[in-house]
Assembly symmetry: C2
Homo-oligomer: 188 residues x 2
């Protein structure tokens, strides 16, 4: 699997708190290595996400405040490609864009914007692919989820998380949770 | 394709406005016939969703205020099944739950809750299936998106919307939007 990093652009504190938190948790649950909240800081979200990662395991970084141009430039300089998720892009259904991205065998930065993104996001200077999860307006959280699901062909949904203090045992009925006493005691 | 209706449970006005709006738009874009906001009314969200449907086409109903038990009872009385999306349920990756749902050939109500749902949601009286989009905590919006995507095997993302006043022509670069003058003039 390629390494995947999500860049969240256009976050507005307060107004977007819950949505950006959902975007970050979706990135984590669907196999991304981390998220960059560009151009702005939001310590509350970082705390929520990092706390959840400590409990539920695995590695997931939360970076914030980096200017988006710098984040993209750094990523591209390491050979990674950039996918901009936008309702205006090539529809994953009815185009080969997913196959082209997978075929590149490169690491992927996924840019997730909000309603009005800078025009530059669409240009070759920034994005290698403009990808639409359908061409109807809906949700950046939904788009990210489906894109990451498709990229891994669903495999990331079944992976295990190293060092988890808590995990769910899937069941047909009811809730079953196992706590890992060893890791729990590490943390008090 | 079966008829799909989403039941959004536990919406809190203000706090959940944007997230519930995203859940509704995701339902619409991924092929649901409509959404029921149970137990509560939120006219602002209904207005946003209905306005978007008038512009972007297709049929999509927004019902609100119906007690969840009543909505589930009505649905079941017409022969539909109920799928409760929950991180505690059977993981779509590594179980046959999706095949079982598709194999039932029945219409599907999808219950999308928030953090703490009534215990009854897990029981046979309410849900036919408890389905997890992975067993990690993330987002009801992401879960709904992936579930609907899988149920239709992606096909709903390419469908056309009857009577659309505006639609996007997918492109590799930039934005291309077509306005349907005939439908535009119908509405002034």
């Amino acid at each position: 699997m390629p390494r995947i990093v999500v860049l969240r652009w256009g976050h507005r504190p307060q107004r977007d708190t819950r949505l950006t938190t959902h975007v970050a948790l979706t990135a984590r649950a669907l196999g991304a290595s981390g998220i960059i909240l560009s151009d702005i800081e939001d310590r509350k979200i970082r705390e929520t996400v990092n706390k959840l990662t400590r409990q539920w395991g695995g590695r997931f970084f939360f970076e914030m405040g980096t200017p988006w141009k710098e984040a993209v430039r750094n990523w591209r300089s390491t050979g990674g490609i950039v996918v901009h998720l936008t309702a205006y892009g090539e529809n994953i259904e009815g185009s080969n864009v997913l196959e082209d991205i997978r075929g590149s065998m490169r690491d992927v930065m996924v840019i997730v914007g909000s309603q009005k993104v800078p025009r530059e996001f669409f240009s070759e200077d920034i994005s290698d692919f403009n990808v639409a999860i359908g061409n109807q307006p809906h949700s950046e959280c939904a788009s990210l989820a489906i894109f990451l699901y498709c990229l891994s062909e669903g495999k990331t949904l079944a992976r295990s998380y190293q060092g988890a203090k808590i995990r769910i045992i899937p069941q047909k009925r009811g809730k079953k949770v196992v706590e890992n006493k060893r890791f729990l005691s590490d943390d008090g």
